[in-house]
Assembly symmetry: C2
Homo-oligomer: 242 residues x 2
């Protein structure tokens, strides 16, 4: 597959590679399904995982609009969890059980290529998260999964959720770089489009089974992206040619 | 040397170890002297390093008091640099030279035990910075020096400079911990006293030559600290016994 490098965005300028995390680095769907199936085998893990995740964008939208004050993802995950438990007949879960389940987001497993790909990219670039997840969640996840970040950046640092420009431009400002010296890697075109609008380079990574093996998603390339990669090793291969 | 563990602060609860950086993890004085002696051999590197560092607390005090708006350490370092250059007959330095010299703080060398000690502590604890240095500076320093942080926390994250309680308590809040589950490691008793007042555990590390081999500082133990260690390996040795 040909890199979609654009002449006006020379990839040689890249200094920092920032990564979306949920779905891009870690398999939230498969991990939540496995937690559910282990703890509560009678529940439809696939439906539960999707219901939990489906509450995520609306909850952040309430924060972005000012309807809710600044709230960390851990607390948004908990609000959504408390909301969906009755719908799955799980209203009997006590406080410690709810706390443990909510921390499943700290224990998400990486995709098979993630750790090796990040280790390769880290040799040449500064690699950081740019996630709406909170700092503690991302740090615990990294320690658990062996993700070798140089730096944990997050909505919590910038007090703004993606796709607010302050998040993408915040990475550039943090490192005193021009926006096009930063690349966002994500499995979500809307995230990349917002980063591109801020002047960042972008790399789309195919995570065809983000919503489960039975529900493949469209991963066809957008010409707007600087790179399109099957996985992190394929991205590292392409950047090795630059 | 006997650990100064106190019964009311059980060290077994420690989850996160936060480190002061300048002087505690890295040798700012020796590193700045070496940069000066290489670039500008006619200048008294020792006097220059101390003059630069001496401007640091007053500059942060102006931010803390509200006299100056929020300003990152990179920018405070530059203000102090521009102020002291004429006093050393170096007013002729052009903009690229000043920028390069100011980034010397991104290139500080670790003390001999720092990397090994951090690697040991990282196996059992989450290790993070808690420095007044900005995120970009601390990340570049870590990459350059091989410091294996799980997470870069900084005054820039909390928008407050140490010894503001929001910085020490900010670490605990970031990880949803009680203050006594966090330990601050520093070579400066005033930093540790402020952390102790917030309920954190504290470990003093002897950095006798922080101001140069010719100017050893007093490193005698304070009974207020939970631990007193010669270096990071000695701290890891003591925590291995807990």
């Amino acid at each position: 597959m040909r890199p979609l490098a654009q002449p006006h965005q020379s990839p040689v300028a890249t200094k920092v590679i920032a990564f979306d995390v949920f779905g891009t680095v870690v398999d939230w769907h498969g991990s939540i399904v496995r937690e559910l199936e282990t703890l509560y085998p009678s529940i439809d893990g696939h439906a539960f995982a999707n219901a939990w995740r489906a509450g995520y964008q609306p909850a952040m939208a309430r924060v972005r609009s000012g309807e809710m004050p600044w709230t960390r993802i851990d607390d948004l995950h908990r609000l959504i969890l408390d909301d969906i438990l009755p719908k799955f007949g799980m209203d009997h879960l006590d406080e410690p059980e709810r706390q443990h389940l909510n921390r499943a987001w700290h224990r998400l497993s990486p995709w098979a290529d993630s750790v090796e790909g990040l280790q390769r990219l880290k040799r040449r670039y500064t690699i950081c998260t740019l996630s709406n997840g909170n700092i503690g969640l991302l740090t615990n996840m990294a320690k658990n999964a062996g993700l070798p970040w140089d730096c944990i950046l997050s909505a919590e640092v910038f007090r703004a959720y993606k796709p607010d420009p302050d998040t993408y431009l915040g990475v550039a400002r943090t490192f005193d770089l021009a926006p096009n010296q930063v690349m966002l890697v994500a499995a979500h075109q809307d995230d990349l489009d917002a980063a591109h609008a801020c002047g960042l380079q972008t790399a789309y990574v195919e995570r065809r089974f983000e919503f489960g093996a039975q529900h493949p998603k469209d991963v066809s390339p957008s010409p707007a992206n600087t790179f399109h990669a099957r996985d992190f090793n394929h991205l590292a291969d392409q950047l090795d040619q630059v």
